[in-house]
Structures are given as C-alpha cells and as structure tokens.
C-alpha cells in the first residue's frame, strides 16, 4: 500500500485550508504578506507547534497527554528562575535545564503508563495536577527573569533567518525523521494501529510508551522555555490553554485520536489554521466574543469533513468500532 499516497490524503486537505486561509488573510489586509508580519507569526505559532508535536507523538500510539500544559508551565517557571547573568555557561544551563525538566516529567508519565495498566488519560490528568502544583511551588505568580541572551531564542536571527522559524523547522523535521525513518517510529504507528498485532510482531509496547511520553515531555519543555523567552518571564499558568489546543492542533493536523493514523507534518498546518482563524476573525473586525463561536463551528466543520468514514456514517455500511 502506498504510504505516500495515504500521507498525501491526510495532509493535502490540511494545507489546502492553510493556503486558502493565508490567501484570504492577504486579500483582506495588505500588510499580511509582509516579511515582518510573517516573522511575527513564526514567533507566535512556534510554541503551539511544539505543544502539537508533543501531543501528536502520544496520540499516534492511541494515548493522550493531558499534562502537556503543566509541563510547559514547569519549564517556563524553571527557565525564569535560573540565574540572571549573561555568561555562556548560564546560557547553556538555560538551554538545557527546562527541556530536561520536561523530559523528566514526561518520563515519569511514561513509566506509570508503560509499567502499569493505568489509562493514559487518568495518569496524565493526575500528573498534570502534580506538575501544576510544582510550577506554582517554584513561582507562585508570573514573574522571574530571563537573561537577555536567552530571549534571543524568540527574537534573534541567524543569517537573517528568525530563530523561531529555525527551531520550528528543526523540531518538526527531527520528529518527522524519527517517525518515518526509524524503528521506534514504525513501532509507534504499529502500536497505535493494533496493539495485539504489534506485540505479536515483536514490538515491546512498554518501551514505545515510555519513549513517546518522554518525548512529549521534552517537546513541552522546549515550548515552556520558548514561551518564557518570548515573555521575558515565567508564568505558572502559561501552559493551561495548551492542553486542549495541542489536542485540537494534532487532530486538525490529521492525526486520529484512535492512534496509528496521522503524523507530525500536519501539526504545522494545524497550528497555522488554529492561529490564523483568530487572525482572520480579528481582520474581519469580529467581536472577540463571537470568535469563540466561530472557532467551535470551524473546528466541528473541519473535523466532520476529514472524518475518514463520514459517508458510511451518514449512509449505510459497516464500520469498525474503537
């Protein structure tokens, strides 16, 4: 079966919508296509993409990670609590510690889910409460400081290319290569597609699960560090919206919550759609209150159209459960 053809069927609608949204925004506002506006856009959409990557790798195995938001918060307050002196050593600390904190928290999730028969939904629901407590313990209110060198992560440029764009492309490329070119990547899809079959073909589900939840923690940690660089401060509640937004982005990006179907290439598109909808509604001068309704309706429409067996559901025909 052609894998490429299947990928195309998943991603084509996503990017067709992105293109349409993009053209529409450009048509409504002359400044939309300017380089500055797009640089700004990369900067804003990057944390959502990182959170979407975190969620997608887990969703592909048929799991879910509700602690993404709290892990982002912990990484953010950790980044803002590190010493505020611009030395190369500090910059190294700043780059390493928040993502590693995320990795550690993700590993705890992974251990609980891999070693015990607990549903991921409950484990990550419980751990998100624990991690939120941790974030509040580190920093009770938004504040702290981020060293100036570190803030370059969100505003700097290398050879004229904005660092957020590089970061986003590197993260997506790394996750895509991991999923499509490595054994663990194939195991992730196999496990999400059919756990029994995966076990029979020699895949160790515990290892795969431990791996994806750890990876989810790492991406969340990166998102948290990035957010604190963007805001110049830490915030123990900054991650909260990212729980549901990351799920929405993963699903709009073509990944099925049942697992086994989708990938990270859709995440960029999903995040852009999610973010640009806001942008467009603003451009159209729609009251912020109505934007909630528009967003909900667009989400439902997008998901209904991309549901794999919509026709069978509305008409007749056999369909699998679960």
């Amino acid at each position: 079966m052609s894998e490429r053809g299947r990928d195309l069927r998943i991603y084509l609608p996503v990017y067709a919508i992105v293109l349409a949204v993009y053209i529409f925004a450009g048509w409504r506002s002359a400044s939309f296509f300017t380089w500055n506006n797009n640089v700004n856009l990369f900067g804003r959409v990057t944390p959502l993409i990182l959170a979407g990557l975190a969620q997608t790798v887990v969703i592909l195995t048929g799991g879910i990670d509700l602690s993404v938001g709290s892990m982002i918060s912990v990484a953010s307050v950790t980044a803002a609590s590190l010493p505020y002196v611009d030395t190369p050593a500090n910059l190294v600390l700043w780059t390493l510690i928040p993502p590693l904190a995320g990795l550690a928290m993700g590993a705890v999730n992974g251990l609980l889910i891999a070693k015990w028969p607990f549903p991921p939904f409950i484990v990550t629901l419980a751990s998100s409460s624990v991690y939120l407590g941790l974030a509040l313990y580190i920093l009770r209110e938004p504040g702290g400081e981020v060293s100036l060198d570190a803030t370059l992560v969100s505003s700097g440029k290398i050879q004229g290319i904005p660092i957020p764009l590089l970061l986003m492309l590197a993260a997506v490329a790394a996750a895509h290569l991991l999923l499509s070119r490595t054994r663990i990547g194939r195991s992730i899809y196999a496990l999400g597609g059919n756990e029994t079959l995966a076990i029979q073909s020699g895949i160790r589900p515990d290892r795969v699960k431990f791996f994806v939840y750890s990876l989810s923690g790492l991406f969340s940690g990166l998102a948290g560090a990035y957010l604190s660089a963007w805001m110049f401060a830490g915030d123990p509640l900054v991650g909260e919206p990212y729980v549901m937004n990351s799920i929405a982005v993963a699903v709009i990006g073509g990944s099925s919550l049942m697992g086994g179907r989708g990938g990270v290439l859709g995440v960029v598109g999903g995040a852009y759609i999610f973010y640009l909808i806001n942008n467009i509604l603003n451009l159209l001068g729609i009251n912020a209150f109505y934007q909630y309704i528009a967003k909900g309706a667009i989400l439902i429409a997008a998901l209904a159209v991309s549901a794999p067996d919509l026709l069978q559901r509305l008409g007749l025909g056999r369909r699998g459960s679960e």
Partner: protein, 325 residues
C-alpha cells in the same frame, strides 16, 4: 469476617471501601482540628460535593458509553451567568428562565451527540468545540461582565437547609438515586452498559446506538446546566469562570468511583462517593493550612493511588505473568 467480605459483590465492595475511606478521613480531620468534625463542616463539604456530583451524573453516563464530555465546564458557567441575568433577582422569572437554561443545556448536549454519533468526531474534540461555542454564548450574552442576581427562591435552594442538610445536597441525592435506578433497571440503562462494553456488537444487535449516544450527551448537558443554576443560587452573583474546574473534577470523581474510562463498567454510586472524597480531601488539606501548590500535588497523588486500587487485579495478573516468564 473475611468470608463475609468476599460474599459481597465486587461493585458493592469498592463502594463500601470508598465510604470507609471517607469516614476515616473525616475522623482524621476531626482529630487534627476540632472544628472539622461538625455538622456545619460536613454540610459545607457535601454542598461542594453536590455540585461536582451533579455534573458527574452526566459525565458518568458519557464515560460509561466510552465517551467523555468536556463541554460541562462552559455549560456550568452558562447556567450560572444566564441564571443571574435572566432571573434578575425576581421570583416571577423562575419558571421561564430556568426552563430556558435547561433547554440550552439539552441543545448543547444534542449538538455533542450528533457530532459524535452522526459526524463521527471523537467525543473529546467534539465536546471541546461545543464548549467553545457555549463559552462564546456566555460572553456575548453577558458582554463579558455578568450582572444580575439569583432569585430569592433560587437563593434558598443554593444556601438553604432542610433538616440541617443543604438543599442542593437533597436535590443531588434525589437525582442521583433516580439515575442509579435508571441505569440498573431500564432498557436505556442496560443499553448504555452494552454500548460501552462493545459498540460493534451493540450496533449489530439492533441497539439504537446513535439515539443512546445523543440522549446521554443531552442528559449531560442538562445536569451541567442545572448545576450552573444551583451554583448561581449559592453564589448569588455570576462568574464567567464558574465552571472552569468542573470537567476535570467530574471526570476525577467518576474515575475515583470506579467508572472505567474504556466504558461499560462502573455505576453512579461510586462517582458520587468520588465527589465527596475529592471535596473532603481538599477541605482536609485546607484545614491543615496546606497551600495551593501542595493541594494540587496531593490531589494528583490521591488519584494515582486510588487508581492502583481499582487496577490491582490487573496489576497482580501482570506481575504474575512477569514472574512466570
């Protein structure tokens, strides 16, 4: 003694265990701080449990059919905000305002049900989207700054007592008992369990799967909106964020009470005890002067601990298998 314990059916055993834990925690609370073991303290705990418990009624049904309802939070907010605005502190508005809000709750639930059953959208995302729409409705109707007050009659429901039991608790007990009976003794109730256990089999055996799903989400919308109205009576003024914690707390109550996330197993009695346990622990930790960070951490640890209690059989099986290989 142990023989007698084994004779009790599994479901009743975990229910008894939960209530024993609740009594134990009450006792511990009483020993630690003298004011804890009092009727007024128990009333306060049970009142907040009744709010979570009412929302957990619909949530339990949704989880039993293998779904989930994240729109209950915005619907609680809607009940609270619309309640105060529509009632405007007058009893003559009671009938139309409360029926209108309950109808909106049902309508939102039907939207969830149609999205999940006919459009095939996964429940988590569908109820999230509906929740966004409901939040929009709340903000538009209140212009972001809710005004108005609960009516005197609603105030009486929210803060009043009958035989020194808070009225909201009595309503909760009555509705909870009805729900338990419906789940046990009606075709609809059995259909819910059957659907949750195996959807394909349920479909092939002629169960009206789409109808049951839509009815379940409609009931969930109804109980969430009702909770919002009662909360409006308790606080008297409305908050846009009134429902913020309810999705996760109602799910936690159901899970602590032994309702399986995969669907088809558990009952409402457990979820109700779960709601009491959650509020009791929160109150106990507050009494111990534990700050919010510590409470959040304890909350998560308790859920994990109770989880291992329900999965201990499968834990045993897993460790035996490991020992054998």
């Amino acid at each position: 003694m142990m023989g007698l314990w084994r004779k009790i059916p599994e479901g009743w055993r975990s229910l008894l265990g939960l209530w024993a834990a609740i009594l134990l925690l009450f006792g511990i609370g009483g020993m630690i701080s003298p004011g804890f073991f009092s009727v007024s303290q128990a009333g306060a705990i049970f009142r907040s449990a009744s709010f979570i418990g009412l929302v957990a009624m619909g949530q339990t049904l949704a989880i039993l059919i293998g779904g989930i309802d994240l729109s209950v939070g915005p619907l609680v907010s809607l009940g609270s905000v619309f309640g105060c605005l529509m009632l405007a502190g007058r009893d003559e508005n009671n009938l139309w305002a409360i029926s209108a809000i309950l109808l909106i709750g049902v309508a939102a639930g039907v939207l969830n049900g149609v999205g999940v059953s006919l459009l095939g959208i996964s429940p988590m995302v569908m109820t999230l989207a509906t929740g966004a729409i409901v939040t929009g409705a709340v903000l538009i109707y209140s212009q972001g700054a809710p005004t108005g007050n609960a009516s005197p009659a609603l105030r009486a429901v929210g803060v009043g007592f009958t035989w020194s039991i808070p009225n909201s608790v009595l309503i909760w007990l009555a509705l909870g008992a009805i729900l338990s009976l419906v789940l046990k003794f009606t075709t609809f109730g059995r259909g819910i369990y059957y659907l949750g256990a195996n959807e394909t089999a349920a479909r092939f055996s002629g169960l009206r799967v789409n109808f049951i799903k839509t009815a379940v989400y409609a009931l969930s919308g109804l109980t969430a909106a009702l909770t919002g109205i009662i909360i409006a009576g308790y606080t008297s003024v409305a908050f846009v964020a009134a429902g913020r914690d309810y999705p996760m707390q109602s799910i936690a109550a159901a899970v602590i009470g032994g309702v399986a996330m995969t669907g088809g197993r558990g009952g409402y009695g457990g979820a109700a005890a779960g709601a009491v346990l959650l509020c009791l622990i929160e109150s106990l930790l507050t009494n111990l002067n534990m700050q919010e960070p510590g409470r959040k951490i304890m909350n998560g640890l308790v859920i994990i601990m109770l989880m291992s209690f329900y999965y201990r059989k499968r834990l045993d099986a897993a460790s035996k298998k490991k020992a054998a290989t």
